[in-house]
Structures are given as C-alpha cells and as structure tokens.
Symmetry: C2
Subunit: 361 residues, 2 copies
Amino acid sequence: MPLRIELGERSYPIVIGTGLLPDPALVGSHVEARDVLVVTNATVGPLYLDPLVAGLAGKRVRSLALPDGEQFKTLETLARVFDALVETRLNRDAAIVALGGGVIGDLAGFAAACYQRGIGFVQVPTTLLAQVDSSVGGKTGVNHPGGKNLIGAFHQPRAVLADLATLRTLPPRELRAGLAEVIKYGLIDDADFLAWLERHLEALLALDPGALAFAVRRSCEIKARIVAMDEREQGPRALLNFGHTFGHAIETASGYGEWLHGEAVAMGMLLAADMSRHLGWLAPQDLERVRDLLHRAGLPTRAPSVGARRAHELMGMDKKVLQGRIRLVLLRRLGQAIVTGDYPADALQLTLTRHFEATAA
Amino acid sequence: MPLRIELGERSYPIVIGTGLLPDPALVGSHVEARDVLVVTNATVGPLYLDPLVAGLAGKRVRSLALPDGEQFKTLETLARVFDALVETRLNRDAAIVALGGGVIGDLAGFAAACYQRGIGFVQVPTTLLAQVDSSVGGKTGVNHPGGKNLIGAFHQPRAVLADLATLRTLPPRELRAGLAEVIKYGLIDDADFLAWLERHLEALLALDPGALAFAVRRSCEIKARIVAMDEREQGPRALLNFGHTFGHAIETASGYGEWLHGEAVAMGMLLAADMSRHLGWLAPQDLERVRDLLHRAGLPTRAPSVGARRAHELMGMDKKVLQGRIRLVLLRRLGQAIVTGDYPADALQLTLTRHFEATAA
C-alpha cells in the first residue's frame, strides 16, 4: 500500500518500489494529464527517459534535458523550462514530470508552480536524497547567488514515484549524501530508526534492496507525518531543517557545486549536535554516535575553514531567521529535535569557532 | 467601513479613501512588518514615494524604482526585485509594498509570492485599473514573450490601500483604460451599475470625488464577492476575464506596451459582446449600448488588423483553454456573463474575421 501525504485536497501518494518507471498501469494512473513535459538532466535522461516514456504510453510527451548540477538551479535555467512550456503550447491541464534528483525536482516543481499560476506535476526522484526528502512535501525553488532556495513556492506534487532501481546507477558519493537525510530522520524523530541505521549501514551502502526499501519508506513516513501537520513550515516542519542552517552556510560559502547538499547537511547536523552537547542536551558519547555514523557513511565530519564570522553571516540569510534572530534546530536528545532561538549566544559562537576557524583543527 | 475579501485566514481589507498614503495610523496598521521594501516605478515614485514613506514612519523602509511600462513586466525585472530583497537581507517577516499600477502590483506581488517561498505584501494601487481590478484578488505574475501573465502565482495581499488622490496625476489615457474594467463589472454582474455608469461617465472622467469613490467601491465589491467564491479560478472567477481572452490576443499581437491593458480589454469586451449578439443573447441595441459607453469613455472600438487566424492562435495560448478548447466569457444579457466552451465554432470565427481582418472595416 502506498504511503500518502495527508493534505486535504492536496493529498497524494508516495509509491516506493523497484522497476516502476516503464509500467504504464502504474505511471499512467498517477500522471493524469494528457500533455506532459518531462524535465530531466543530461545525466539522468540517457538512463531513464526511455523507460519513463514507456510508462507514459498513450500521452503526448515532450522532454527537456537541463545541464546537471546545483549550479544550474537558477532563475536562468527556470526560464528555459518556461520557454519549453510555451513553445510546446502546454496549457493549464498539462503536467510536468520531474525525472532526476533534488535539483531537477525543485526546479521543475517551481516551474509547475508558476506556469499559468500552477499546473500539476509528478515527482520521479532518481537519487536517494530526492526519494527520502526533496521530492516529498512540496517545497520547490531555485537558488540566488545570495543564498540557497531563496526563491520558490510551496507546490505539492500529484504523486511521488520512487523507483529504487534507479539508485543502482547513482554515484556512491551521491548515495552517501542521500544517507545524510536518512540519518536525519533518525536523529530528529526516531531513536529506534537511528539504531536500525547503525546496524544496517553497510547493507544500505551495498544497495541491499530490503534495507533500502525500509529506509526510504521509514524516512518518507516521518516526513509525511511532519508535513501533514505543517505544510507551510510555520511550526514543526522546521524540524526537517535539522543541519540545514549550518549546512546552507557551508554550501553558500563554498559556492554551489563543491559540497553536495547532503554532505553539507551531514556536516551541519554534526555542528548542531555539537552545539546541543555544549548546551548539555547530548552526552559526549551521543555526539560520538552521530560522528561515527556519519563517518561510516563516508560523509564529511570536518567543516571548511571559512571563518566563524562569515559562517555566522551566511546563517543569518537563512529563511529560519525571524526578527533578526537565528532560530536553530537542535537535539534535546537523540531522536528528538526542537526549534529554538532561545540559547546563549556564545554557545553558537563557540560552535562556529571550533569548527569554522582554520586554526581549530 | 472598509470592504473585506473573505478568504478565511487569507482575508484582507480594501481601504478606499482620499489622502490615505501619508497617514501612519492607517498605513502602519495595515503594514505589520518592520522591514519593508517599497517597489515602485520611475513615474509613480517621484510623486508618491515620499508620502508613503511618511505613512510608514517607524519602520525600516527601502525602495526600488523599476522602469515604467508593461514591457518591463518580465522575469528579468523580477530578478531585480529578488536582488534588492537579498541585498537588503530581508527575511521571512519582511513585507513588500507595491506602489504603482497593475504592472508594479503584479510583479511585486509575484516577488513576494516567491521570495523565501512567500512573504507578506500590501497593494497601494495608484491607477484606476489597479484600484478596481489588479490589486484585488491575489493574481500576481509576469509576462512571457509567448503570452501575458503566463508565469505567476496566487498570492493574496495583506491589505489593499486605494488612495483616490493618486488618480489626480493619472494620465487621462490611463484613467480611461481603468474605466474599461469598471464598465466590465457592470456588464458581467450588475445592470443597475451599468446604467449608473451610463449616467455618470462624464463625472468619472472629470474625477468627481463622489462618483469615483462609488465606482471604485462598487467594482471592488463585485470583485471581492466573486474572488471569495473561487480564489483560484476554478469556476466563477473566470467571469472576471470578460474581454480578456480576446484582449490578450490583441496585446500579444501588438507587442506589449502599444495597447494599454484596459484598452485591449475594452476592445475584447466589445468582441465578446458582438459574439454574444451573434449567438442571439444580446439584442443589437444592447451591443450599441456597450459600444457607445466604451466610445464615450474614449476607449478603442476598432481591433488591429492582425488577421483572424493569428488572433485565434493567440487566444489559444490563453490560460482559459482546457483540453484544447477555447472557453470564453460571453454575455447572456447585459449584467450577466457566463463561461462557456459550448458555442458553434463559426460564431467565434465570424467574430474574429469581422474585427481582425484589414478588409473588414
């Protein structure tokens, strides 16, 4: 039985399985539109566009392959999607299918949000990160040179079709980046899942189908529950940004494209965990569990030496800042996160100095 | 008592009055944010930015003046608003105030819809068209070379502050263009209002304060009621597009900027009325009432010679096309419009040929 995100009339299913793409009975039942623009990239397109087009049998399908990479998640690339939609004269009853990772899903979803003030779209995520996180929940957008995802919309897909078979061609580095978000769900919401991940990390890295299916499903379950409570991130949904405020600063400081999003989030989660330890909420051995798991997953545990001041500045540009105060997601304990702006200023300062100054090794 | 648009938690007031702008008690009570970016243009800014800034006393106010004109309602100009928002480091709790006509309201509203996935905004319309139509109802967006308003969002303002004093500096041509939308409300919804307009047209053209206040208020009342029924235009809201499908084709064919939007709508209403007469719904003398009123208002009653085929093609790009069929707003009688795709194809063809072919004079 597929998972569902319960959002009233905007509810939709998340289908997780293997070999879904070429199946018209499945894909066709979730892509209702007759006219479809598949937006993909130069890496994923050659691998999975044909199977997906097979799954879309009976529809009028066009496709657009964008260059691959976070550095192309811009207003300029978005304009190319609008051009394609207008050139092919797609109307309000058409749909966009996003075939690719988080960049394609965010960008194509934002195009769907804006084209004719909103057309339908379906997410077909082909990376682990997109399957467990970015394809679910309706956050769409593009980057601005001044910060990640500063321009976007909440626009829920009509369905998410996560074909685990596509993970077989995923570069190992991207698989690990996706695991960062999986680990996130354990850290913020489910200590049992965290312990399960500690036991099954090698199976996940080896793409064991049973382990993958469980991890993707459990991640989506947690995300679905939180999004259903708070679609537009006015409350608990901010918990899902655990590691992201620190992480965005890393990504922006390094220029998009050097750190993968998941890698920056991993490092950000370690920073948030370290700050939680400063505050006495995590024990030193809890912090070591976090560091060990990230390390075993091949994720970074050393921040770039951008300087504490610059890092702090970049965090200030994050969307979670209200009334000039940086609200952070921190851990009260492993498996329970909170959002708070109520912490001693020097706890943040100390954490940033410890990790972002070149002299502090 | 101000009018209200009733949209649940997105409800907001429409304040109509004279000399509202410099009043901090009024403006401040409707612009809650502490950080404000006023988006205006090079024509309106020099006239009304100072009074508005006086009304925003006590807040941190920045402003951005864009070039004036429909041809600047583009993704490129939108990017300039994003740059200004990022440069001034505005966060989610900031607000945009749109000071200007429909172009500024649509563009600044769309920027507010997208920046950080949505910040607050307040409409301060300074043209008659914006006061009675575009500032009310949450439609925001920009044009694409392939069609008007093809890229946008539904994003309701927090308030609409319509200062009738600003109409005193409005060029007469723009006042007349705004009257087209006022006349629209009579035609689609209120035969009594239509008759009132026939009696008071000269007073409106002479900016008689009492006549203006009544016309703006009655127009906003009708729009508020229709938008409250159907915020996202899935049903009756399409009635408000009376004249717009024909009108958009005129605007697009002529290149943005040559015909004012209201002028194109006026011509489009006449076309729709003529087609309604073809269908036997309007009597010939009804059509003449429409033509006379538009003519007395100084609005165009002759279409450009773009050719029936090109006009038809451009209408096909309109957002109201569903399943490849052009749905039109037509008049069952004066004061009652319907949305329908159910008409003989040659009725449309005949209307387009009559008006868009150079040979047909």
